[in-house]
């Protein structure tokens, strides 16, 4: 069974249809890249899967492990294993990264019927994870995303992903605003998480990220539909030729 199954998904924002029939099947262990020019619905797709308000699904289905995702609240989806790495991670003043991570981790553990981690266990765990990601441990003492550089914000996203161990991770333009070093750190973190029972949906405008996170499948999103699918070579092709031909055919 596919881990994530999207069937003929239509969604609109403020009455305007953005997704016009997306069908996509993601097997466990696979990395799918969704590419496409700006304004074609890439972020809409990730927001609809994660359950953000303001998006109306007018038709179609999204299933995770065969379960109807669209019927779940955003937090239920997260606890079911959907993780969205935000393009613009949100600042939460006064809430330390540490407190945020612990609350999130324990919410997940409770849902799984496990005991909550106490402060000592948690700090040990975070210490190990930050070290593995090559991140400064002190970062967790700062208010979440407040005053973080673009690179720090994305690293914090990867740290959260690493701790929460999702079934499906959606990376929404994770490469935006990253210099090459930060891109490498973030990609290494993601690659370390690749596992047979976990899938990734990597949403990106540029091929560059896919040099580091090598996808199994590449899809081109244009005008709210998947205009083409292929292997990792498709990304290289797009890099060379641009999106023009998909936009023309779809128009």
């Amino acid at each position: 069974m596919a881990l994530l199954e999207i069937k003929n998904l239509h969604a609109s924002v403020a009455g305007k249809e953005i997704l016009k029939g997306i069908t996509l099947s993601v097997e466990p262990g696979a990395v799918h890249a969704i590419m496409g020019p700006n304004g074609t619905g890439k972020s809409t797709l990730s927001n609809v899967i994660a359950g953000r308000e303001g998006y109306d699904v007018t038709q179609g289905e999204v299933l995770l492990d065969g379960k109807n995702v669209l019927a779940m609240s955003p937090d239920e989806r997260a606890r079911a294993g959907i993780f969205l790495a935000f393009q613009y991670p949100v600042e939460i003043p006064g809430v330390t990264t540490s407190a945020f991570l612990k609350t999130a981790l324990n919410a997940k553990r409770r849902a799984e019927g496990k005991t909550e981690v106490d402060a000592m266990e948690f700090l040990k765990l975070v210490k190990a994870k930050t070290a593995a990601l090559g991140m400064p441990y002190d970062m967790i003492k700062r208010a979440l995303n407040v005053g973080f550089s673009g690179g720090e914000k994305k690293r914090a996203e990867v740290l959260q992903m690493t701790l929460l161990e999702p079934r499906l991770a959606i990376l929404d333009e994770t490469d935006s605003g990253l210099d090459i070093d930060a891109l490498k750190v973030v990609s290494d973190g993601v690659n370390a998480l690749r596992a047979p029972d976990r899938a990734f949906l990597v949403i990106t405008h540029y091929q560059r990220l896919l040099d580091y996170i090598v996808p199994d499948h590449v899809h081109v999103l244009a005008h709210g539909r998947i205009a083409a699918s292929g292997g990792k070579d498709l990304a290289l092709e797009l890099e060379a030729e641009g999106y023009a031909k998909y936009l023309d055919t779809a128009a």
């Binding site: 953000r52 955003p74 939460i92 003043p93």
Partner: protein, 484 residues
């Protein structure tokens, strides 16, 4: 004496009177209402000396001249209080003076346990000495011996009146005079008990002193009186926390707290207040009209107030500092949360009299539902307060679109060398923040609790450790169901 006969008669009447009790603990109560006889009754019940009774009567007679003129300037709405419809005295009955906890009514101890108040070994382990107030009379005091050895007096107010009359006479009403305001005057007339603390010269009190207040009797107005004196060079941290069971009638609470810090002394006073706030429609709940004031009487003295106010239907409270001594410091840290139909009008007064006096105010107001939350503060700098400084920060957080947040800062500066700063912000919890938290698996309520705790962090950090943990939980609980 006629008065004595009258008192004896009143006591007799009361002892014959049968009431339905909220718990099984037998109480003796004063008859309904307020008059000079009731005040004499209270004083007689407590076996007070003549000077104490005289002070009460002076206050009562002054109160009569106020003719129900409650302060009307606060942004609060509530029906007129009928002061004759309350009982002004209720005490758990005791057979004789208690020397140990074993003698305390087991039912009473059970009630404390249910409230999560660890009165016994837990307290000792935690290093907290507790002067527990059940309704109006203090029934048990732990750790007393150890404190006594250090020369600390930590006793029920009524006991201090007997054992330390010279200290009580000297300081009672010296910070909050009996004529101070309507509620303080009422308290001065009818206060039943409270805490008395004296920290001797040069002693840094090694443990937090803690009092839990509890309202249990129906229709019993609560009139606590607390007096804390930190002698030269001493330090004390005092914790006050309270819970009350759910009930329908509005309950009046008018406490008075007076703090005196002499030269180089420091008092840290922390409150977590979570009394019954009334139901979602605003029915029931405590009316909390409190007068709290500290005098930094000595040079280099410091008083720090921290309050976490989440309960009560109405909160009217302005813990203040009179900065008399040169170089003295006053600080006020406040979190006030109102939801449903709660109303809070709270803040502080920093009165700078001495040279180089400094004050800092950090107020965090959170409003949800149909609640109103007002910060009202006064910074007054006297003509002689050369080099005085104040920094004020007032932040308001709104949850939903039917609540109100108001900031009313008064600054009166009569000294050209003084510097005052004021910063204020008003914000809402954003949809983006909520979605971000929920995408990480937190429920809506967990997310709100986390975000609000972040908003309050600067204040909560000033609380002693164990209190801070309780307060964080309380912040979350207080807002449950307010976002939806």
């Amino acid at each position: 004496m006629a008065a004595t006969r009258e008192t004896a008669a009143a006591v007799r009447d009361v002892e014959q009177y049968k009431y339905g009790f909220v718990t099984d603990i037998e109480s003796d109560m004063a008859p309904l209402g307020l008059n000079e006889g009731i005040i004499r009754f209270i004083s007689a019940k407590k076996g007070e000396p003549e000077w104490m009774l005289e002070w009460r009567l002076k206050a009562y007679r002054y109160w009569l001249t106020l003719a129900d003129e409650e302060p009307g300037w606060a942004k609060l709405r509530f029906p007129k209080i009928d002061y004759q419809a309350s009982y002004y005295y209720a005490a758990p009955k005791r057979k004789a003076a208690l020397t140990s906890l074993d003698e305390v009514d087991p039912k009473l101890l059970e009630t404390y346990k249910k409230l999560g108040i660890p009165l016994l070994e837990q307290q000792i382990l935690a290093g907290v000495a507790v002067d527990a107030v059940f309704d109006s009379v203090s029934v048990a005091t732990t750790y007393k011996k150890k404190l006594e050895q250090l020369g600390v007096i930590f006793a029920p107010f009524s006991e201090a009146v007997h054992k330390h009359p010279e200290l009580v006479k000297k300081y009672l009403g010296s910070v909050v005079p009996y004529s101070d305001n309507f509620y303080a005057t009422l308290n001065s007339a009818v206060f039943t008990d409270g805490s008395f603390v004296y920290i001797p010269k040069g002693l840094r009190c090694p443990m937090e002193l803690s009092t839990y207040f509890r309202i249990n009797e129906k229709n019993t107005g609560q009139f606590e009186r607390t007096l804390i004196i930190a002698d030269e060079g001493s330090y004390v941290s005092y914790l006050e926390g309270c819970t009350a069971p759910q009930r329908d009638e509005n309950q009046l609470h008018a406490a008075v707290v007076e703090l005196v810090a002499l030269d180089d002394a420091e008092i840290k006073y922390s409150t977590v207040q979570n009394w019954y706030p009334g139901d979602a429609d605003g029915k029931g709940g405590i009316y909390n009209f409190v007068t709290k004031r500290g005098a930094c009487r000595g040079k280099n003295s410091k008083i720090m107030w921290t309050q976490v106010e989440t309960g009560s239907a109405i909160t009217w409270k302005y813990p203040s500092c009179i900065l008399q001594g040169d170089n003295s410091v006053g600080e006020f840290y406040s979190v006030a949360i109102t939801s449903n139909r709660q109303q809070a009008d709270t803040g502080t007064k920093m009165i700078h009299l001495g040279r180089n006096t400094r004050s800092k105010i950090v107020s965090k107001g959170i409003s949800a539902g149909h609640a109103d939350n007002t910060y009202r503060g006064l910074v007054r700098i006297g003509a002689k307060a050369d080099g005085a400084r104040n920094y004020t920060q007032c932040d308001s957080l709104l949850i939903g679109s039917t609540c109100g947040a108001h900031t009313v800062p008064y600054v009166e500066n009569r000294n050209p060398t003084a510097v005052t700063e004021h910063e204020a912000t008003t914000s809402k919890i954003s949809e983006d923040q909520l979605f971000y938290c929920r995408q990480r698996g937190m429920s809506q309520e967990e997310a709100v609790s986390l975000i609000v705790n972040g908003f309050c962090r600067e204040v909560l950090q000033t609380l002693p450790m164990e209190f801070a943990v309780e307060a964080q939980k309380l912040v979350g609980i207080s807002l449950e169901g307010s976002v939806g």
